[in-house]
Amino acid sequence: MKVTFKIWRQENTDAQGELKAYEVDGLSEDMSFLEALDHLNEILVLKDEKVIAFEHDCREGICGQCGVFINGRAHGPHNNTTTCQLHMRSFKEGDTIVVEPWRASSFPIVKDLVVDRSAFDRIIQQGGYITAKTGTAAEANAILVSKEVSDSAMDAAACIGCGACVATCKNASAALFTAAKINHLNKLPQGQPEAHRRLLDMTAQMEFENFGSCTFTGACEIECPADISISNIAEMNARYVKAKLFG
């Protein structure tokens, strides 16, 4: 299988970047997209060129490290997948595949396809946890959580933090990411004591990091590999009003 990659190359954050074309032969349909990039990198090494820097780690769709914009879509042509779970069988012989890094001013480019998503960590840092020290827990079954609540908390908790929501959003809004974490914890009884503070602090940080505001285009929930529903954002908004009024 032969395709042409057009890949964003950029030396570092401050450098000027550009799309560069690479014709790659010898690919197979069973290869994952990232394996095709591996293959291209091996060719580049043997041609004495620098390899393309791209993010990846677990390659099974859970760590959230991988993520590039492929042919105009976050994580490629399929809904709700990660880049690492995209396979070359999704492309045709002779295709041109444009690969760009996540675009958002809060995600500066580090190099080539690698961006800095530490803004996400700083949002979590502002309250995406339950303030309880190791060793202070009571017997687990002393806290009863109905299956429905637990399941819906789990739905939100499934976020892998890849940043596709921000990348695909025309506003570079981090609302889906932030809402997922807030709702995961605020739905559970364990998260109640600091529910309002968590919500206000995390959303404040989200704004401080310069993420845009949500206008409900719905693109994020289509691209989200963890299937996080956009209703999470609406729920966050509802909780925000409550927190402002009663927090």
């Binding site: 394996e35 090494v45 004495d48 190099k111 946890y129 559970l188």
Partner: protein, 636 residues
């Protein structure tokens, strides 16, 4: 040096209490003066860093990923064991201890294994408090499932993403302490060497992976929590970045390496489909709860799975191990699969897989229940293979997975270098020669949250009075120079072969000779080949780009250089152990039915290797079994 495991006095069930009662404490004001480096931010690393910071220590935590949340603990699917006995099915700390010890084929310490079981119940309490959305019953209590190698239901789970949920809990707790300014988090930092001063671990040399900058970091103790090294096989269920470099460097600086050949091959991964494949995706072992494993009775049967009638299917696990059936422990299930595949019954494109069938489960439980239990795994399977597993069986195949082996640690989790600790998968402690499913999340969490924070004080108390060294100490500059030298050498080779090319070659040798079954001749050959690969690597590897920028190729090369050396030691270790135990199966030592034959007379010890200027010296820690008499590990 004589190995001292420092097992505390007293009865088995009192040892941990006795230890805690007697260990040295440090008052809060003094804890602030002590600095601890934690390498790795998985469940062990993040748990330890957060807890140590809560206790008052100054902590620096390193990870090579862009965020602590990516550590490979995230990928554990099935669950975490705990002796809660919520199911009222006869479980207890004792039974869990016994299962783990037996599962490990009696190659771990009784005291360590008991402590693992003992601390499992409070760990579940801890994670529930941290907001982990564990599966629940309708009444609101926690749910359980069963897992390979045991006959009770003691596994707690959060869908098929238990590792992710636990890691996110640890990660958020870690960032809580970052906010409190008690932890400095250093993502995209790879630790390339350990600095030892006066025989004690006093710091690390690290490379900033985004910028290439090499820096020194000093501390009063160094904790390695770097995970497993099964990427030595190249194709494994591990993340691409997982590596053994930090522990290998520690080993070369004096830490003993224990049982490096004990690596677990997981029975339920997706089969390899191409030469360019970079990783094998794991399908959770929990699938074996309801799925049935089989191969066609006829060799090379070309029919589709659904066209093969029941009478012509060989449910070989149920046939060979009637009491455990499809839930036989991993090593046994993997080997049984290999046996069938080697005998020509393999299925799939490369005849390298077996079927995992849910037909009966769907008939019995209904599609809804199966979907509820394994929905995300079925989705994942379809994403990768394009096959709907509700309609036809999955194809699965064994893959390199967990490394039981690791740095030798004593009861306090300290390596043979004072002040250097190893926690989680990178140490050799509780699993013996084979780890039971859902015990990995348990061990790594307990090491980080509960054990290390209660043992490190015993050492650090002494460090308060000891002489303090900073990064200006000559040893720091010496180690830094060595790191720079190695990088320079790598970049200067400018050969003709890529790093991946060498890694593929190494992986093939290791998979062939040092994986599911091993023999003397093969291992001896492998050692020769590995030495050859090492030679070739340093002569012909090509790494482009420079060292003062983000350079993924250089990162890979540095990791592979260490893997090659580690591979040799793994083979040496497998060679010296003239018995079959757990994941270590030596073809020379098997019964007529092909079952493993352990030799407690001569091999009831932990092998601990000392590095001595390019040579490896074997030390033995004799294992004493006071409470459980080793028996033949039968799952028949």
């Amino acid at each position: 040096m004589k190995l001292n495991a420092k097992i505390p006095e007293g009865k088995l069930e009192d040892k941990w209490k006795n230890y805690q009662a007697k260990s040295h404490l440090i008052n809060p004001a003094n804890k602030k003066k002590l600095k601890i480096i934690v390498v790795g931010s998985g469940l062990a690393g993040a748990g330890a860093a957060a807890t140590l910071a809560e206790l008052g220590y100054e902590v620096q935590c390193f990870c090579y990923q862009d965020s602590a949340r990516r550590a490979h603990s995230v990928a554990a699917q099935g669950g975490i064991n705990a002796a809660k006995n919520y199911q009222h099915d006869g479980d207890s700390v004792w039974r869990m201890f016994h299962d783990t010890l037996k599962g490990g084929d009696f190659r771990s310490r009784e005291a360590n294994t008991y402590r693992l079981a003992e601390l499992s119940a409070p760990l579940i309490d801890h994670f529930v408090q941290q907001g982990v959305p564990f599966a629940r019953e309708y009444g609101g209590v926690l749910a359980n499932r069963s897992f390979g190698g045991v006959q009770v239901q003691r596994t707690f789970y959060a869908r098929g993403q238990t590792g992710q949920q636990l890691l996110l809990a640890a990660y958020s707790q870690l960032y809580k302490m970052v906010r409190a300014k008690k932890v400095e988090m250093l993502p995209r930092h790879e630790v390339l060497d350990i600095v030892i001063i006066d025989g004690k671990a006093k710091g690390v040399i690290s490379r900033n992976l985004a910028k290439g900058e090499i820096k020194r970091f000093a501390a009063d103790a160094v904790v390695l929590a770097t995970g497993g090294y099964s990427r030595v096989f190249r194709l494994s269920t591990l993340a691409i970045g997982c590596n053994g470099s930090a522990i290998w460097k520690a080993h070369k600086r004096g830490a003993y390496f224990a049982a490096p050949s004990f690596t677990q091959i997981h029975p339920t991964a997706l089969p390899q489909t191409s030469e360019a494949q970079s990783k094998l995706t794991l399908m959770s072992e929990s699938l074996r709860n309801d799925g049935r494993i089989w191969v066609p009775k006829k060799k090379g049967d070309k029919r589709k799975a659904i066209d093969i009638p029941e009478a012509e299917r060989d449910y070989y696990l149920e046939r060979r191990y009637p009491s455990y059936g499809n839930l036989a422990p991993r090593d046994i299930a993997s080997r049984a699969a290999k046996e069938r595949i080697d005998a020509g019954h393999g299925v799939g494109q490369f005849k390298n897989a077996v079927y995992l069938d849910f037909k009966h489960a769907i008939q019995k439980l209904g599609k809804k229940v199966v979907e509820d239990r394994y929905g995300n795994l079925f989705n994942m399977y379809e994403k990768i293979t394009g096959i709907n597993a509700y309609e036809e069986p999955m194809k699965i195949s064994p893959a390199a997975h967990f490394s039981m082996g690791g740095l030798w640690v004593d009861y306090e989790l300290m390596t043979t270098i004072p002040g250097l600790y190893a926690i989680g998968e990178c140490n050799y402690s509780d699993h013996g020669a084979n780890r039971l499913g859902a015990n990995s999340l348990l061990q790594t969490s307990i090491d980080g949250y509960f054990i290390l924070p209660n043992t490190i004080n015993n050492y650090l108390e002494g460090e308060l009075k000891a002489k303090q060294y900073g990064i200006d100490h000559p040893e720091f500059s010496k180690v830094e120079d060595e790191v720079r030298e190695q990088i320079k050498k790598l970049l200067e080779v400018n050969g003709t072969r890529t790093v991946d090319d060498f890694h593929r070659e190494l992986g093939k040798v290791m998979w062939q000779e040092c994986a599911m079954s091993r023999n003397r001749k093969g291992l001896e050959n492998a050692i020769g080949e590995i030495k050859h690969i090492k030679n070739e690597f340093w002569k012909h590897v090509k790494v482009t780009g420079s060292d003062n920028e983000m350079n993924p190729e250089l990162e890979k090369a540095l990791r592979l250089a260490d893997f090659i050396e580690l591979a040799e030691l793994m083979c040496l270790d497998a060679l010296q152990r003239d018995e079959s135990c757990g994941a270590h199966f030596r073809e020379e030592y098997q019964s007529e039915e092909g079952e493993a034959m352990r030799n407690d007379e001569d091999f009831a010890y932990v092998s601990a290797w000392e590095y001595n200027a390019g040579n490896f010296v074997l030390h033995k820690e004799k294992l004493m079994f006071e409470y459980v008499q080793p028996t033949v590990r039968s799952y028949k």
